[in-house]
Amino acid sequence: MDVVNSAILDPMTGWVILAAFSALWIALGWYWGRHSQALDDYVLAGRRVGLALGTATAMATWVTSNTTMAAPQIALQMGIWGMLGYSLGAVGLFLFAPLAARIRRLMPTGYTSGDFIRLRYGHFAWRVFLVISLFYSLGWLVSMGMAGGILIHALTGIPYHYGMTVILGICVGYTLLGGFRAVIGTDFIQALLILSGVVVIAFLAIQHIGFDDIHRSIATERPELLNLLMPASIMFLFNNLLFGVGEIFHSNVWWSRAFSFREGVGFKAYTLAGLLWAPIPIVAGFIALAVPALSLNVPAADMVGPMVAAEILGTAGAVLVLIMVFSALSSSIDSLLAATSILVVEDIYRRHLRPNATSAQMRTASARIIVGLGILTWLLCAPRITTLAELLYFTGAFVASTIWPIAAGLFWRRANTLGAIAGMLLGSAAGLYSYFAIGFYVAALVGAAVSMSCVLIACWLQPAAYDWADLQEHHPQESGGTP
């Protein structure tokens, strides 16, 4: 099927919508960030974010292009358990809620997840962690840049490279102008757009086809999708749960939010965000299950979401999909740009290159790194090499191996350096092996299991006696640097 010819929005309409929302995000980014000159204001929104904005930013960031693209794809491949399994990504938000409260309490002046690993486990573990975290961040950025190009192309016919360039360029633009305050402010609006869009599309799908027809068509043509005992799907369910937990536990995207929230907000914000996020993949996946009823020929699995939406909703629906997808992509890309830039600034620039960097120098470096990350992501997105789900799950082994070192390190004095290092290295290796030997749906499962064994055995053989006060680090720029 020729996607350009089947796109139901003409490219001009697509460009108008993209231009309107791009102008809105840029203007808001400039407005909210115009007084963010100090480092903490620019990278952590002054550490005073309230419950509403905190909940919305956690929820919107977790609604990624993968929720709108890969969830329908997974639903079409793995059926009902695929949808529910994807929904278990919310468990990561729930489990991170107590961690966010503890992070804020133990490290009131912290900046990154790297800070924690360095202070808790030492320099070697920190560097292993940085490799995992940066690899994952880049993988996530690339998967969303690609999704942006694919979706805009599918919906409007705008060439892949133009769409991908627009989405990356706009996110870099307003994150650069407004820093973390712009990220959080736009996330709130994007959360409202995403939630409203998903609900409207699902209601229109039911109205257009009929719920009974959707169920009957699947039961007749693809009964395996409704099978409650589909083994690969059940494996996927647990794998996705651990993958989500690993992504959230280690990534500075979520740690930077924990640092930025007001005292007492972290636990409530992450719990509420999990509750609001959990039903979204089910609704998005349900839309894909309309394929048998529509007798659609889906040439590429990662195209199923936009194709179904385009088939059943017409022009107005396609406009809605484009706005929703643009919001989902922006809310995640901006968060990643902001969180990865401070990770690079704090853990590489300051800790490796400029130990006496002032607040002003770090702020400048952060802005430059946001631009650099945008360019690097564009270069990696340019050749569209793999399907989105494959790219996404390739990182599963790595992130799942960090779950136990992070969680045990935050709550157990006895967790030690050897267990953390072995957990991350052996967990990643075992997860990667299982990815290639068995399939993507077991990589996180194996990675987390091996990592857990390493951490627990090391704790048992040689328990540490860590002093939590060591996490309260003095930052040179707090006393020396001027904004």
């Binding site: 929104a45 002054g46 005073r48 974010v49 309230g50 419950l51 509403a52 904005l53 909940t55 919305a56 929820m59 009902i80 529910l84 929904s87 305050r181 959080i184 709130f188 959360a191 409202l192 939630l195 409203s196 998903v198 609900v199 699902a202 209601f203 719920f211 009974d212 169920h215 039961a219 009964p223 409704l226 099978n227 409650l228 005992l229 007001r262 509420l272 509750l275 609001l276 959990a278 039903p279 979204i280 089910i282 609704v283 349900f286």
Partner: protein
Amino acid sequence: MIIPETLFGIVIAAALCLTALAPILLLVLLVQDWKKGDLW
């Protein structure tokens, strides 16, 4: 073992209702934070 249509319908309907309520909840929280001066 195929999921019955009724159960399938309940799962989808529950997910749809929760998603529909979410924007309202976020706006209510926003107004509460704004009144207390706790937005950010």
